[in-house]
Structures are given as structure tokens and as C-alpha cells.
Subunit: 546 residues, 2 copies
């Protein structure tokens, strides 16, 4: 009955290299089409440059250049002034997927996976057949060097085509990447131009010099010489470690006792906390980690959940900050009312998260269109998959009508509004390796909505006052229309000159209503800026929209 035997079927079983896997499924990495591929490549290179500069505490200066070689073939050049990469590591960092320094580190970085830039190298060789050239210099006293490489997709190992020393006298230190690939250059909402602009907005310490394929140069100059606070690396928090991981940590531990294990390998576990965990797990603090079996590990795991442990340290996060957020919005968007908030840190699965929201309302923004949403994760703008993103979902499922905006069921609010959202974390759960949208974790969406409600209430106060004043202005201008009739009646009653009366009445209206109301509107923003705290509406508790 069995027509093909297990033996026969077994012959086809094979190991699949991660490079082969992503070559076949390159849309998972953001290389779906030529336009997006160009953006993804530049994003990966620029994000890496910013991460490296910040880690080495260097003010970043990044050169991005696009050269059109043929109709669909482009050369991408990205050069930074970062610390450079030592020769031994250069090939693997660019020529091997899942290789990097950020994956095992618990801290807020733009890159996370060790996939992105090698994926760009893979895409370049797939579409142009050409190797990528990388130059590196690590100090002015040292010689620069270069490598031309491809990725051997069957083994996921770098395949060095050429390498050697290099004269690069004008460079103190840094990296320069050059690759040829099939691409398409367009402007607009999902363009390289937009990505660089949005990157500059939230990274004011960075200078980006961008030359587009039409040889037009744009310089985004740094507006501060101060590097953002360094995001510190932390140890795992006990609440964030799952049972299987805990067993693995116990196996690999060099600690002599359970107490030592708990205090040295986790963050926020003091001697006292360790003692409490042991008590709650019915295990002795002196137990040797290597004798802890699965059952004991499971009681330990439950003991941890039942012990009150301080939240993880917060210096592993580097938010944009309320002030900068508002300043950036003011620079980019012509609105009347601006407001930004940075929420306190919250913890999910042991990972600290921080949400920041900025809004810009009114001004020249279109009144009849859906609000504009700008999404950022760890200071990287997200330009694709807006609909699939938890940040968008939070905006859509927040009730905006109480804040004075129109909104259809399941849609973004309609009105002259821009909402900027930023999530900072040591672990950003993206929906795919292309890092375009956040996965829909209910706990995270809830926190974003709380932040939106915070700014929403401030917005509400402005919008309602504005609507009230506008009503008064309208009534005043209505009165203006009747001035001739009123003047006529008054003149007949009092015998005064009709034209004089008209002038007087008009002046009165101007002074009493229009001008002062206009001023009132101007001053509205100031008032709210200064932290006027409005009482919460009773029917709008924090849980309500969940």
C-alpha cells in the first residue's frame, strides 16, 4: 500500500541554510520589490552607523549617495565616521546572516538581529551578480583595509572575492559600503528621502549628507552636539525568563549556589529578594545549580512569579524626550497646537518599554483627510505596513470623538492632525524580520492607548476652546452682516448719523470680538503647554477602549 517508502522519502531531507531561506523569501526581510529594497538597504546601513557611533560615543556624520547606473540598476554608497570594524570581523558582519553584537545584548539598539545588512549584500548579489565592497578604518594611526565579498548561500558564510590594505588618508575612522543592486528610486511617503528626513527629526545629534540619483544634495545638519544618553546593557529580569530558558541558564551557570545564581545572573535580585524567591520555591539558597532538575526548576519558576521583584532598571532605554519630540514636530509640521508626552516605563515579559507620543493639530494640515501617523521604533522611522502595526491599531481603536475629531468605526481620526508614536525597548516585537510593523501584543497596545489618551485630553481642551471661540467669531461676523440695518434703526431712533453709526459698530465688533478672540486662540496653546491639568471625564476611564 505504501507507494513511497520512508527510506525513499528520507533521501530528500536536507539542512536549509538561513541564507538560502531568505534568498527564497526575501520579502520577509523587506526586499519585496525594487523600491522597497533600496529603502531597506539604506535603512540597514544607516541604522548600523548610528548604533555604532552611539556605542562608541561619536557624533555621527553619515554620507548617503545613490547613483543610477542603468534604468533599474543603482549603486548605493553609505559612509560613516563610526569606530570602524576590525579586519577579522569585517567579512562575517557583512557576509553572514545572523551574526552580530546586538542580539544577545539586552539594550535599546536600532539593529537587533544580525540579519539586515548581510541581507542587503545578499540582495545585491542576487540582482546584480556583484560583490559588495566594504572599506574600514579603525584609527587615524592604523592602515585602512577593504574587502569585496559575496555570501555563499548554501553555507551562509562570506565568500571573499578580494581583500587588502587601502590608502584612505582623509578618513580618521569609519566604514564605507558600496553595492550595486536592482532598485527603483521614487520620492514620496515610502522613499529614501522620507526615511532620512524622519531619521534626522528624532536624531538631532546626527548629520546626514544625502545625494540622490539626480545628484541633488540635501544636508540634514545636526542641531545639537550632545549625544543621547547611552542606553545601558542590562541583565535579564527574572519575570522575563521562561521555564526552558531558566533550565538552560541553570545548566550553564558557574555559580556555586542558587542564591549566587539569582543575584549575579539577573537584574534587580538583591540578597533579600533571592532569599524570598528561594522561600517561595521551597528550595534552599545553598542548593547547587547543577543538581536542580526540571521539577525543581519548575517550582523555582513559579516561586519567581510569586515574589515581588523590582522593575528592571530604566537606564537601558534612551527615549527621544518630550521637549525634542515637540520641537521636531514644530520644525516639520505647520500646525497651531503641539503637545508631546513621554510615558513612564512599563514592563512586559521582563522587558522595559517606553511609549512617547507627539501630536500636531490644525494649521495648514488638511481638515477632511485621515490623520497622518508617523511611527518610530527605537528611533527608526517605520514607513511600510502601517495597517498591520500595533502602533496604528492603538490609534484606530482609541475613541477620538471626545477629543473633538471625527472618526469612522475602525478608522483613523479625520482632521488636521499628525500623530507621532515612538516605542523604545530592549526588545521590539516586529511582525517580521523586515522590521516594518509591531506585532499586536494586547499589553503593548494598551500602553500605547494610555499614552494616546494622555495627549488626547490635552488636545481636547484646545479643540473645544477653539470651537467655542470660533462659535463666538461666527456670531460676531453674523452681527456684522446686520450692521447696516441696526445702524439704520438706531439712526432713526436717536437721530445720529447712520454712516457714523456703521463705523462705530464695525469698530466695536472688530475690537470686542474678532481681535480679542483671535488673541485668545493664540494664547490657548501657551496655557495648555504650561501643563494645565484637566479633570478626567468620568466616562473615559483608562480601561475603557480596550
Amino acid at each position: 500500500m505504501v507507494q513511497k517508502s520512508a527510506e525513499e522519502l528520507a533521501k530528500k531531507q536536507r539542512e536549509i541554510s538561513i541564507a538560502e531561506f531568505f534568498e527564497k523569501n526575501r520579502h520577509l526581510l523587506g526586499f519585496d520589490n525594487p523600491r522597497k529594497s533600496l529603502l531597506t538597504t539604506i535603512r540597514e546601513a544607516v541604522d548600523n552607523a548610528l548604533d555604532a557611533c552611539e556605542e562608541a560615543r561619536i557624533l555621527p556624520e553619515i554620507n548617503v549617495e545613490l547613483i543610477q547606473l542603468e534604468e533599474t540598476r543603482f549603486r548605493v554608497i553609505v559612509e560613516d565616521n563610526g569606530p570602524g570594524i576590525i579586519q577579522k570581523q569585517l567579512a562575517r558582519i557583512f557576509g553572514k546572516l545572523l551574526y552580530g553584537s546586538k542580539f544577545h545584548k539586552i539594550s535599546q539598539t536600532r539593529g537587533q538581529q544580525g540579519i539586515g545588512i548581510s541581507a542587503a549584500v545578499l540582495y545585491a548579489q542576487l540582482t546584480s551578480g556583484k560583490p559588495t565592497t566594504i572599506k574600514s578604518k579603525i584609527a587615524s594611526t592604523k592602515k585602512a583595509f577593504y574587502v569585496k565579498l559575496k555570501i555563499d548561500t548554501q553555507t551562509n558564510e562570506p565568500q571573499i572575492v578580494e581583500e587588502g590594505d587601502l590608502e584612505w588618508p582623509e578618513k580618521e575612522h569609519g566604514i564605507r559600503i558600496e553595492m550595486d543592486m536592482d532598485a527603483s528610486y521614487m520620492k514620496g511617503r515610502q522613499s529614501v528621502d522620507e526615511y532620512l528626513k524622519q531619521t534626522a527629526i528624532v536624531n538631532p545629534h546626527c548629520t546626514i549628507i544625502y545625494t540622490n540619483p539626480e545628484a541633488q544634495q540635501t544636508i540634514f545638519s545636526r542641531v545639537t552636539d550632545q549625544l543621547p544618553s547611552e542606553a545601558k546593557e542590562i541583565k535579564p529580569h527574572p519575570y522575563g525568563v521562561e521555564l526552558g530558558r531558566l533550565i538552560k541558564m541553570l545548566e550553564l551557570s558557574n555559580s556555586k549556589t542558587l542564591k549566587e545564581f539569582l543575584t549575579t545572573e539577573f537584574s534587580k535580585v538583591s540578597d533579600q529578594t533571592a532569599k524570598e524567591i528561594c522561600e517561595n520555591s521551597a528550595l534552599l539558597p545553598s542548593t547547587k545549580p547543577e543538581i536542580i532538575n526540571r521539577e525543581m526548576a519548575e517550582t523555582l519558576y513559579k516561586g519567581i512569579q510569586n515574589t515581588k521583584i523590582q522593575s528592571p532598571p530604566t537606564d537601558c532605554l534612551s527615549p527621544i524626550g518630550q521637549e525634542l519630540l515637540e520641537k521636531s514636530l514644530k520644525k516639520e509640521i505647520n500646525a497651531e497646537f503641539y503637545c508631546a508626552i513621554t510615558r513612564p516605563i512599563f514592563v512586559y515579559r521582563g522587558n522595559p518599554f517606553q511609549i512617547e507620543i507627539g501630536v500636531a493639530y490644525g494649521g495648514t494640515q488638511p481638515k477632511d483627510e485621515l490623520a497622518t501617523v508617523l511611527r518610530y521604533a527605537n528611533k527608526v522611522p517605520l514607513l511600510y505596513q502601517q495597517g498591520a502595526c500595533a502602533l496604528t491599531k492603538a490609534v484606530v481603536t482609541t475613541a477620538w470623538k471626545p477629543y473633538g475629531l471625527l472618526q469612522s468605526q475602525g478608522a483613523l481620526p479625520t482632521g488636521p492632525l499628525t500623530v507621532l508614536l515612538h516605542i523604545a525597548s530592549v526588545w521590539v516585537p516586529f511582525t517580521s524580520e523586515s522590521k516594518e510593523a509591531l506585532a499586536h501584543y494586547p499589553e503593548i497596545i494598551k500602553e500605547i492607548k494610555l499614552a494616546l489618551q494622555d495627549v488626547g485630553r490635552k488636545l481636547q481642551s484646545y479643540v473645544h476652546k477653539k470651537q467655542k471661540i470660533q462659535g463666538q467669531i461666527e456670531r460676531a461676523s453674523m452681527f456684522e452682516n446686520f450692521i447696516p440695518e441696526v445702524a439704520d434703526a438706531l439712526s432713526r431712533l436717536t437721530g445720529a448719523n447712520k454712516n457714523d453709526l456703521i463705523d462705530q459698530l464695525e469698530e466695536m465688533v472688530q475690537k470686542e470680538t474678532l481681535t480679542s478672540k483671535m488673541e485668545q486662540m493664540e494664547s490657548l496653546k501657551g496655557e495648555i503647554d504650561e501643563g494645565e491639568e484637566l479633570p478626567r471625564r468620568r466616562n473615559e476611564s483608562e480601561e475603557e477602549d480596550m
Copy 2:
């Protein structure tokens, strides 16, 4: 100025194993939360069982059993009657991510990546700390054997806890998997129950015996003894091979000449086609593949694009079929009108695709709710991420008003409607490794919309006739209301008995209108079933909604 040197930073560079990567990002594989994890585990096991049975040409019988051990801990058991797996391969198939037989094969299979079932093993060990037990028997004449294993996440290699021979006399051949994991069991739209039900719908040759955690057993019996046609493996089509891949193929080829290379390593390249490709590339057919450098490969690549080559063979696809689709809908949905179509094969990036659509309209389906969408890819039901899926996008961006349904901008149509969509292909571009939603390739969405327009026109004809007849029925029943008055008038005019007249009039109305119209409605479906081809509306050309 550089505070951390390149040397210092280099120390942190490390290889990341694919198992570590997915342990940290398990939501990418469909293990976001306990409920979804249970479904994903069962889906991976059942899909593998179905693939193995079909490849070995065995009528599948699959046992699925869920046992609740603690509030959040479940044992998952899946047993099949497939060909089994030989002992040497067993550990790697279940204990190593990116290992399998389907990735390098160009054919329509449920599994594709060699990730799914090992990801379930990984999730089980992460949440319960326990190994997975797998039993295998490859023939009644051979001894069965078992392995208990975990995955070493640092190396992505199986870690065998225990293995050995096994008495399993009642089993002829097959696999049995047992694993303990944190999970949550709920019924509803995204449940294990729903997945198994929908799987049974499109796999009528398969018997599934399902025991839920409440010890209730459901048997989905096979309704046919005929296996679906075997999906044949094909060679790559020249149009689907990118430049980098072509260069790699030339490097690895054993062919003596370019002509031999083209005719033996691709599908649909005859001697004549090979000659044409060589001409269009200005290369001699006798050129040795090993001397073809990048520049020559690029001319060859362009030559291929400029040569007319037959579409890939279609026997690599195994669609559900129009008849079965309609039958399945009739079995599951209480409607008035059913219709299904299987579109001709289309080719994208050298890969053959086939779209099938079924609709069920009316009956007891709610009139005021959004239509129900059932999505399938290679006969696997997709239960999550409906909003992010290209199949949904095609439904939403199709104009349903001309077909007699209500529809808000950007929404599913409203009405008593179920739409079943199936995409069959040798390469299904999912948005993530969890295989829940199709990526938004415009070419694929366009083809799905053409299919929807096909069924839409048939639906339109039914809905419009139904609306017309309903109008007549309403007019008739309106007349019925006036029968006493009419009878009274007639009786006065003619002298006939009023009560007799009432009876006669009522009988007339019954006979003439209601009954016959009802019959007309019944027969409507038959008419359309028999392939009544309606002229296309002028303002509804195929390109229109794109």
C-alpha cells in the same frame, strides 16, 4: 575622541543560531500567546502528516488528542498513518530548525520551510521544560522506535534525552508525537476545532479523529477514497531565476555546454528554446558553463527575459477543484446560492499559481453583518491575521455593489455571504514564517480579484433576479391585503357572493404569484449552475478595480 574602540566592540560579535533567534522572536512562528501556540502546534503536525501521506500515496487517518494537565499546561498528541520516518532522520526532522525535504523541492506542499514542527518542539521545551517524544514505524515488518528530544538552542542541533526500540504492534506505519506545553484551549473562530473542521472541508480524502480537552470526540470521516492528484516536482522556470541564482547554477552545473545547461536544469527549455536564448544572449550554445563570467551571465539573463518560453508545467499544482469546493460549501453553510470557480494557472516570477473561489449566498446567514471570509493556502486554512492578508485585500478592494451587496469604502461587503478563497502554488509568499497571511504582491492580488469578479458576476445574476422576484412577491402580498375591499366592490357590481369571491381571489394570488415565484427562485440556482454566461457590464472591465 573614540571612547570605545573597534577592538573592544568586536569582542561582542557572535554567531546567532536560528533556534536562539526564534526562541526570542517566537511570535514570528505563530507562538505569540498560549492559545495561538496550541493551534500552531497542531497545524504544523497535521500539515506534515497530510503532506507525508499524500507523497507516499496513503489515505490519511490522523488522530489529534488534547489533554489538560494543569490550568495552563496541555499535552498535545498527534498520530498519523503516514510512511513514518527512518531512525537516522527522526531527531533532525523534529530537533533542528531549517531542516526538511520540501524547501528545495519545487512543488505544492503544505509545509515549505523545515521550521514549523521543530518550532513546536522548541516552544514545548521553553514553556514546560520537557522533551518531545516521537514514535515512528516505517513498515509492519520493521521494529518501531522512539526518541525523546530537546533542541540545543545555542547550536540548533537535536539533543537526544532518550531513544530506543518500541513495541507498537497495532500500528502498521506512522508517526506519533507527544509534547507538553503552556497553552490555552478555547473554541471559536481561531480554535483548533475550527482549524480541523476547515481542514476536513478541503481534504475530503482524509479522516481526522479529534478528542478535545473535555474528552469529547469528533470524527471527520473521509468522504472519498480517492487521493488528490499528486503534485509533481518541477525544475525551475527560466523566468523565475534571478541573476545571482543563475550565476550560482552555472558555477555548480555539471553540464558540458550552455545548451545542455539550459535544457537539463530548467523546465520548458527545448533544444529550440535553448538555441533562441543563446541567440538572444549573443552566446554560443557550445560555451562551457564554467567560463561564463558575471558579464556573460548578465547577457544570458537578459537573453532569457527576451525569449518567449512556455509557461511552467501545471501538474505541479493540485487544486481543490470547482466541484469539491461547491460541495464543501453546501455541506458547511446553509445558503440558497452556491458557486465556485477554479481559475487557469498564472505565472509570477516563474512560479505557477492557481486561484480558486467559492461563494455561498443567502439562507440563514446574517444579512446585516460583514461577509465571512475563509482563506486557504495549499489546502491549509489560515485563521489568523485576516486583515494583513492579500486574500482579504482582494475581497476588500473588489467592488461588490454591482453584485447586489452593500459595501463601505475599504471594508468587506455586508450581506448573507461567505467567500472561500484558495491559493495553490509551489511558492506561497507568506508575510511571516508563521504562515498566517499572504504578502501583498500586486500581481497576485490582481489575479485573485479577477477570480472574485468571475464569481461576482454569477452572484449578481442570482441576487438581481431574487430582488426582482421578491418585489413581485411583495406586490402580490400587498394586493392580498386589499382582497376584502376588492371582493366587496366586485360583489356589489356583479351580485356574486362576497365570501366566494374572497376565496377565489386568494386562491388566484397563491397560485399565480407566491407559489410560482417561489418555484422560480428555487430554479434560479439551477439555471446559473448550468453555466449561464452573462454579458459583462461595460463599466466593469477586469482592470477597473486595480
